[in-house]
């Protein structure tokens, strides 16, 4: 804490005294917890896949320093830097996302992965934070100059991004960026009536997806009637894990659900947490996620730059929504969506992309001159 003097005006010194150290601490705590959970859950999955026992753990442990580095680097940026890099990355990753259906690798029925020099990359993961920043810029510009090109461009942006995601197809992620976009519109004061209409449109889109995409339909059907189908199997095992764990859990490494769940190390990691560490640990984990989101919102309230508010809020909504959707589907509140628990689940692309997004959030919410008065 005392590494930097108050009067230190170097880049790092200013960073240390202006960044939100509570949020940073919470995010690093999530990363640490993710290491523990990867070590707990992934060996069983790796063995089942006839991989080296610590295959996933080793990979995740090599991703995490990169992710932390990306997060810290991003948090050093100025809002202008965030905007520039965000827009640039949006263009790059939109192009890559559009390319994946043609040059990508099909995994579990969807083409979302690119292989670049021995590394697999999921461009759509990076598209999400870049989209939040770009949309924030366009919407803020639109708000400042209602007759300018801001709003139409923001609409085109959403259509292009959602379209690219639906081509993969990745309905869940398309819905998520739509949610981010709509939250940003809501924040700049969109009339409530229009908000209701848009929500209805999204609901209609969801129903449309149910009838258009076979896997969406089967997941929803399985949610309504869990006995039918393989998704129902994962959810049923997951619920058993929570019941078997109880309040305090069966103890680290004592869980069994990881031996039967194909996605124990990624989408269903919360079930492993629940079984081995108990419901109380799950509640603490939820509290950390909620803390990051609410704290970030709170910090945004102190900024009077509309782009900063919209971008930070968009990134936080994306982060919080991802955590919520993952946890809610693991406890069978909503149909299962193949989405990771931020920083806790295994996954290189998603972890690094989230780290970049949260780094940008930290950068945007740093204290700086010209801030509004604290309220």
């Amino acid at each position: 804490m005392t590494a930097f003097s108050r009067t230190d005006t170097s880049l790092l010194g200013r960073w240390w005294w202006t960044v939100d150290r509570w949020s940073l601490g919470a995010l690093l705590a999530l990363v640490l917890f993710g290491i523990v959970m990867t070590l707990a859950a992934s060996p069983a999955v790796a063995e089942r896949l006839n991989l080296d026992t610590f295959y996933f753990a080793r990979r995740q442990l090599s991703f995490l320093p990169v992710a932390v580095g990306v997060m810290l680097f991003a948090s050093l940026l100025s809002p202008v830097g965030v905007r520039r890099i965000g827009i640039a990355m949006f263009i790059v990753f939109l192009g890559l996302t559009l390319a994946t259906p043609h040059v990508g690798v099909e995994i579990k029925g969807a083409t979302r992965w690119l292989h670049v020099g021995g590394l697999s990359l999921q461009p759509s993961e990076f598209l999400k934070p870049a989209f939040a920043v770009t949309a924030a810029w366009l919407i803020a510009a639109g708000r400042m100059a209602p007759r300018g090109p801001g709003y139409p461009l923001a609409t085109v942006l959403l259509a292009a991004t959602a379209g690219a995601l639906l081509l993969q197809p990745d309905v869940g992620m398309a819905l998520m960026i739509t949610a981010v976009w709509m939250t940003q519109l809501f924040l700049i004061g969109l009339p409530v009536a229009i908000v209701i209409v848009l929500v209805a449109l999204v609901a209609a889109g969801g129903v449309g997806a149910y009838y258009t995409f076979g896997h969406v339909r089967s997941r929803v059907d399985n949610f309504i009637d869990p006995a039918s189908g393989s998704d129902g199997y994962q959810v049923a095992r997951s619920l058993e894990a929570f019941r078997s764990g109880g309040l305090l859990g069966r103890g680290p490494g004592e869980g069994r659900v990881k031996e039967v769940l194909p996605d124990a190390h990624s989408d269903f990691i919360l079930a492993v947490v629940g079984e081995e560490f108990g419901i109380i640990a799950c509640l603490l984990l939820i509290a950390v996620f909620a803390f990051v989101v609410v704290r970030g919102f709170g910090r945004s309230l102190r900024h009077d730059n509309l782009f900063v508010v919209l971008a930070a809020a968009g990134l936080l909504v994306q982060f919080g929504l991802q955590a919520l959707v993952n946890m809610a589907s693991t406890v069978h509140l909503i149909p299962p969506k193949g989405i990771t628990l931020p920083f806790v689940s295994y996954g290189g692309s998603s972890t690094i992309a989230l780290a970049w997004g949260m780094g940008m959030m930290l950068a945007l919410t740093r204290e700086r001159a010209g801030m509004g008065m604290p309220r």
């Binding site: 924040l187 929570f242 019941r243 939820i286 989101v293």
Partner: protein, 598 residues
């Protein structure tokens, strides 16, 4: 979008905070700056709303988790962990009195996970040193195969488990297992059958009831292990004494159709079925079908009486052998005269029985055989049931040979089932191996009660003065019929390869049990004057079985002193007097004339 501004202006709380000089009040705000600040302020207000929505959603997940924790079950994880390797223990099998005949003991079995075996050679060496019966090369193949599981040795004792643990070898482990145990050993081997090493039923009731036993349901048989033991002892003694190649013994409850004892010799120990061969596993009572010989004459007589083809005083001329189509039907001990119905059974006349069957007629004979269950496979709860061999064409010669027990092959249990109908008042009750309790199937009447009564008297008469004399158990009012069938070997009847049998019913005044004893290829010895017929070798077995099981089954004998010994005057009429006196005694026995205690 441009119409949004008036609405935002209408927001009083937002406007309330606006007048605060955001820029420190250093300069007046430009209109553009003012609009920007108002937009930021709306965003801040709405951000609070979004934040609250998030908190609400997180609370939803929290509520769901608390709900799951409230429904937690500490045993659930255990069940989850064990579900893959441990199913419910296989159900016990017991006899009618609850004596345990088969049970499953929990054991531990040793397996390897080849991926975790670090040094297969070393592991194999250490394990072979501990279990010399293991084949090293086979073990090595299992330890190195490309999979995650291989059994090494099943059903270890705790001492062996301890020894394996002390080796400290990686990649091997124990799994809960179960082993089938038959505490009574050989006694009911053919009924129980056996399982494979994974406790799946392969024979007997273990196979027939595999599904329910596998689900952990217990099975109660109608077998009485005490009776079973007695029948086996007596049958085994006779098989040894007469050097027979096999034997069959059966005690059947004539009222309920329950098999109280069923013995097939040679038998095997289901605990060590690996040492048994096909011959010992063969169930001669249900699986083997044989030409039963003279015991079938009971059935011919019963159908003749019941259909009205003959009366008790009727009879046939048995002075001439019957020649028909290259076959000659002779009597074993020719009387060369007209024989009345009682005499036909007492002397076991083939000729008279053939005439009697012809009088009954083919269609009626078939109808009765069918109703007595002799033309279809047994509806018994065992996999090992043989189908009767019946002639394809039902010509006169077939009618006649079936009349004295040749030309049709049925299992011993078929015969006992039919004789039970004759004895029990005329109703057919399918035989069973399972405790029926009070749930008896609907009885099917086949014979009249009158026919049954007459036939019981005739069976009793045969024991008082006929070929079944050596079956006359003291005071038990036992009736029955001998049978001696020549076996067909290579298409020809063999004079010295016989199936010698006796089927008895007791007590004839109120029949409770059919007792059947069959010896396969018995050899006569000095004590039988080198006869090996049913009357000489099988009838004494039934007598001893009846005498030993009667006290167990609660059949009370009458005092032998109360039973008048039948004597007749010497002279030319001795035979007639003897027959009439014996018949009177037999009928009196059947009617329970002495009011014998039951």
């Amino acid at each position: 979008m441009s119409r949004r501004a008036p609405r935002a202006r209408g927001r009083q709380p937002a406007q309330l905070v606006l007048p605060l000089p955001v820029n420190g009040g250093l300069s007046p705000q430009s209109p553009a700056e003012h609009g920007r600040l108002r937009a930021v302020d709306v965003a801040h207000t709405r951000l609070v709303v979004v934040g609250l929505c998030f908190l609400l959603a997180f609370c939803g997940v929290v509520g769901r988790l608390v709900d799951l924790a409230a429904g937690s079950d500490p045993n659930l994880g255990l069940a989850l962990a064990n579900s893959a390797t441990w199913e419910a223990a296989r159900g016990d099998i017991m006899d009618r009195n609850g004596v345990l005949l088969a049970t499953s003991l929990p054991t531990r079995s040793l397996y390897a996970d080849p991926r975790d075996v670090i040094d297969p050679e070393h592991t194999a060496d250490r394990l072979v040193a501990l279990f010399p019966e293991l084949n090293r090369s086979q073990l090595l193949a299992r330890l190195t195969h490309d999979g995650r599981f291989a059994w090494i040795k099943r059903h270890l004792t705790p001492r062996e488990q301890h020894a394996v643990n002390r080796l400290g070898l990686p990649g091997i482990g124990f799994r809960d297992d179960q082993r089938r145990v038959y505490p009574q050993g050989v006694v009911a081997a053919h009924v129980l059958g056996f399982t494979d090493i994974d406790s799946r039923g392969l024979a007997g009731v273990e196979r027939h009831f595999d599904a329910s036993l596998g689900d952990g349901e217990a099975l109660r048989l109608c077998l009485d292990v005490r009776i079973q033991q007695i029948v086996r002892e007596e049958l085994l003694a006779a098989v040894r004494e007469y050097r027979a190649i096999g034997g069959a013994g059966l005690v059947l409850d004539v009222v309920t159709g329950e098999v109280v004892a069923m013995v097939s010799l040679p038998d095997f120990d289901p605990n060590h079925r690996g040492r048994s061969d096909d011959d010992t596993r063969f169930n001669r009572v249900t699986q083997g079908v044989y030409e039963m010989g003279s015991t079938m004459k009971l059935i011919t007589a019963a159908m003749a009486l019941d259909s009205g083809a003959i009366t008790l005083t009727g009879g046939y001329d048995a002075s001439q052998p019957i020649r028909r189509g290259g076959h000659t039907i002779r009597d074993y001990r020719p009387q060369n005269r007209w024989l009345s119905l009682p005499e036909i059974l007492v002397h076991s006349s083939n000729i008279a029985s053939a005439h009697m069957a012809l009088d009954v007629g083919g269609a009626v004979q078939r109808m009765y055989l069918n109703q007595l269950g002799m033309l279809s496979p047994l509806a018994l709860e065992l996999s090992e049931v043989g189908a009767p061999l019946v002639p394809g064409q039902w010509r006169d010669i077939n009618i006649m040979t079936i009349g004295f027990g040749h030309g049709i092959a049925v299992s011993p249990l078929h015969l006992a089932q039919a004789v039970a109908v004759i004895a029990n008042g005329g109703t057919f009750m399918p035989a069973t191996i399972v405790d029926r309790g009070d749930r008896l199937p609907e009885p099917k009447p086949v014979l009249s009660a009158e026919t049954s009564r007459t036939m019981r008297a005739l069976m009793r008469l045969n024991v008082i003065m006929g070929t079944g004399r050596r079956a006359d158990a003291d005071g038990l009012r036992l009736g029955g019929k001998t049978g001696t069938a020549e076996k067909i070997v290579g298409g020809r009847y063999m004079r010295n390869a016989r199936m010698s049998s006796f089927i008895g019913v007791f007590p004839v005044d109120s029949p409770r049990y059919v007792v059947l004893a069959i010896l396969d290829e018995p050899q006569g010895n000095r004590s039988t004057h080198f006869y090996a017929t049913g009357g000489w070798v099988a009838a004494p077995v039934v007598r001893r079985i009846a005498e030993r099981i009667a006290p167990v089954l609660g059949v009370r004998p009458v005092d032998p002193a109360d039973v008048p010994r039948v004597t007749g005057p010497d002279g030319p009429d001795r035979r007639r007097h003897l027959l009439l006196a014996s018949l009177r005694t037999a009928i009196a026995d059947t009617e329970g004339w002495r009011g014998a205690p039951r």
